[in-house]
Amino acid sequence: MESQDLIMDGDLQTLGLQSILKMLALSGKTGTLFIQSGRETLSISLRKGQIVSLREEGVNQPDLLTMLCLMNRLDPQRAQAVREVAQGNMQVALPFLVEQRLMAPAEMQQRLEFAITQSISHALRWVNGRFSFHRRVVAMEGRMQPLDVDSVLLEALRQADEWEEMPDTSLTRATMARWLPEVSNDVRSLGLSQDHIDVLCLANGEVPLQAMAMALMLPEARIARILARLFELRLVEMVDTALEGELQQDLTNIIIMSQHTLAQQRQNSAPDQHLLGLIKTLSQCINGLLIHHGMYAKALRGRGQLPVADIVSYLEKRFAGSLQLMATQQFPILETASFVNGQLDCSEIFNLDHLVRGEQLEEFYWEAVRGLAVFLRTVFTTLLNDEVGNSYTGRQLNVVWKAFLTEVDQEIQQYQIYRAGQHTQNARNRFNDAAYRGDANWKGAAQKDGTPLWSSEWQRRSI
């Protein structure tokens, strides 16, 4: 788009989509409005203040032809022929279906209107983003009757409100539901409405919520409610394959990176350096997981590009409590670790060698390793449960995660063995010294700090 065509642009936080559209409609403008949030872009073409077409970019668009096939409205061969002509553009596909007498012109208009309302309703929920209005109308094929902005906005706002009122925020437009294989009851006995049954029929694990809405011409929020109900009835499980694939890839990369760091720190021969290496590996892994969760947490999904402060506050609310609890109950050393900008800051533990040395330093490091290992488990379990639950992806990631934890545990055990050996050696040396000095009372032998050599506390610490 050439810059001389630009009439106005700005931030969605300053001027919302609703106000922009109303303003353009009232002044009868002709041109294209671009709204962008994250990787999603919406372009709405207006002629004399009326909507003539709309296009969404940055997200996979539902294939209405596949939907019509699934609903037995179209045979797959004809669908393929239309698909080749339309090349994924619904505004070309629908008129072609009308031409072929496979759809009534009224239904085409209704479907196009419906799709536009859905897209605008979705964009109305974006918190952050930019807009720009350009003078020229981008040539977008279509035979739709121009739409009145006010009536589209009214319906879109109503649907956006319906989304906001949804008790379960985890559902997005990309959510896919899959019929649960273990369901054997006759669903008619559950007293489901026709809409519920229609949605259930499309729940094959490959049709996103947005496409279901498009096919059945039911608002996305309504489909979301129906899916939530079917989920409650244990008839379906939720699958967001695109998101799951993406988050699986991201988590995999974090684990690969952490495993690599773990393997590298094995080269440290000095025990304190070995422990410090483990602390660095664990904290790096925790921070990787926190960054990941900031992008994929259910509570943060479907809200466009969020301000960093919101993500930081969410992460701290979610994990700072359990860190604090662990610090007070089991691992006091973790009191020195804190959350800074949504990341775990362990710099005080890393710099402990400036304050203490020798055995005491090793003691602190050892406690930090055990504490961070427990916290790492907590973070991963919480994160996986929230993001994918007990899905196929979740189960696969759990297998990989357990393999990584086994490697971490082996490193910890290796140090435990060394530690036990050291203690035994020390004890033997002290016993021999005492015997050599003719001190027969070996049972009363004490450590330098006065605690008995085999006191329960000493034994606990040495295991």
């Binding site: 890839q249 990369n253 990631l397 393999a403």
Partner: protein, 146 residues
């Protein structure tokens, strides 16, 4: 009729790496078998005749360079592409890998997308590389299965 799918052998002493590679490649409809040490790797090569080998360098019982050399010296297996997967990223290590006969060198920590791309690149035309007799045998087994 089902088409034969390629098998990739992953040789790494880290169970994490083995599981990750397995999970990543299975998503791409690639069959994955694994080995944790050098000797098991050679047994798997002989038993399964993989279409590609992903090979770590530091392995128990026999290192990656030696495995690579053995595979390359064997007439039956020499055409199998071998991708070295190692934490050593120095020029010397890469040269040594090439001299031992590796097809490509991937440095750890690798990106899962990069891994898939590299594997797919070297799997192209795997059926042609397979000895005709073995390929036919595989097709017959699949035909019988359905």
């Amino acid at each position: 009729m089902m088409e034969p799918i390629p098998t990739v052998l992953v040789v790494d002493d880290s169970p994490t790496v083995r599981k990750i590679v397995q999970m990543t490649l299975q998503r791409e409809h690639i069959r994955v078998i694994t080995a944790g040490d050098g000797l098991s790797a050679l047994t798997s090569v002989a038993d399964e005749m993989p279409a590609l080998i992903l090979l770590d360098i530091q392995l128990p019982r026999m290192d990656g360079y030696t495995i690579c050399q053995i595979v390359r010296k064997n007439l039956q297996f020499r055409a199998i592409p071998i991708i070295m997967l190692s934490g050593k990223d120095g020029l010397f290590d890469k040269m040594r890998g090439r001299l031992a006969g590796s097809t490509e060198y991937l440095t750890k920590p690798f990106d899962s997308v990069e891994l898939v791309q590299t594997v797919k690149k070297h799997l192209a035309g795997w059926q042609q590389r397979m000895p005709a007799q073995q390929y036919e045998g595989m097709r017959t087994r699949l035909r019988r299965r359905g």
